[in-house]
Amino acid sequence: MSTATQIPFVEYLKLEPTPHLVANECTSCGARFFDRRNACAGCFNTEFTPVDIPTEGVVRSFSIITFAAPGVDVPFVAAVIDCGGTSVRANIINCPPDPEHVSLGMSVRLATTVVGIDSAGVEAVNYGFEPA
């Protein structure tokens, strides 16, 4: 393990014990959300419980982005991953960004990457999915 202090890029990514995503699951209807919630969009309930999301899935959709906002490295692959029935937004990483290497239905697994280090020496760690 790295000795540098690390923090997840987003709050729904947990780095320990191994990197995985955690969703807010509605205690009433089971709808899952990755953002901070005021209530459930499906049934209006306000109680949620954290659930771990499987780290393996299949590519349900993707696009290879060649034009993006300033500061975003292109090309990159934006995708929706079906992780055991929960859809996750992510980049496909550790894979050439071209239609010969990325395909619909491809099996992928969660992977992490350091996106930067701040003035206090803390690394921000993001997630993506790589070919499984």
């Binding site: 709050e11 953002d35 901070r36 959709s61 993006a68 906002a69 997630y127």
Partner: protein, 402 residues
Amino acid sequence: MSRSDDIWILGIHMTKFGKHPNLDVVDLGAEAIHGALADAGVTMADMGIIAAGNLLGSGSIAQQLQKQVGQTGIPAYNVSNACATGATALRTVIMAVKAGEVDMGLAVGVEKLAGAGLLGAGGKAKADNDEWARNGRFGAVGPVDGRIGTESMPGVFAQIGMEYGHKYGGADFELFAKISEKNHSHSTLNPLAAYNKAMSLEQIMNDVMIAYPNTRPMCSANCDGAAAAVVINGEKLKTLSLEQQRRAVKVSASILTSDPWQEACQVLPDVNTLTRNAAHQAYEQAGVGPQDLNLVELHDCFATAELVHYDNLMLCEEGGAVDFFESGAPYRDGKMPVNVSGGLQSKGHPISATGIANIWEVCQHVRGEAGDRQIEGAKVGLAHVIGLASACGIHILERSAA
């Protein structure tokens, strides 16, 4: 024939879409309003309400326009609903007329978008020598666009088309490019389109890739433009001239929906369910089915989007959009012409104007006034628009029986 709760388009106008460097949003909006009023044979004095939309301007577009075309003191509604803004302005006026509060009203949408570049993407980058701080609903320490998927419109709608391909098969880069080839071909007959040149499949596929599988000509064209419509109830219409009654177009359905909760809809926008819901409601309200339509203007903001809406609007059986396209049905000489205006890919997409301009196109055909691109004998048409977030507007328009 006309009843007090019947809704009609009395007059409608769209400006030339394209670059208008010497016209500001008020000039363009005023041009559309003057065109619609002249087409209707009425004046601002007849209007009981105005609803206006302009997403990228400085605000209060309705009052800005009133200050140029007529300050009559009527209620002014400034509406905003992404790419469905124009349809929302029209829907607002229709609700006021239908409620009986006014007997005539004006809806207008206008946008200056030429040279706007990529829409949707962005986010603030972290300043150097700073410490990580969490922001927003995901508690992110930096911009998520580009790092966790994409927020750029070409990329989002590319995934919407690819998702359809994953579900049903048969949708690939070449198929999406052929849809674009169709719309660019249709645009050659539309003098108001921003681009009206035919493009070959090879040209389209070899153009600059924006977000695979959408190349540049497969993306809607950012441009300037405006459109406006005068709405009237059936009772008032009966008091007008026979010519006005003959040219009036019946609004047999006016529907606006938002996206209901679905698994994944907050991961990748679900433009399907709200369109399908709106279509069901529109067909029921109008008492017609998809087989009764003579033409459809649907929201082809990207070639990948057009495919899914064949299915969502039930122009084909569920899962059958690829076969529907390959049968030749949506070409202007096919059995269900789609986007004979050239669609947003060639006509252009000045955001707030789009949801009225698509209705203008259908009105031209059912009035028999579409010139070289007239769909012969058109009596009924459907106009569809999607604003991401999301909103869906569907209007079904019918030729006057007068």
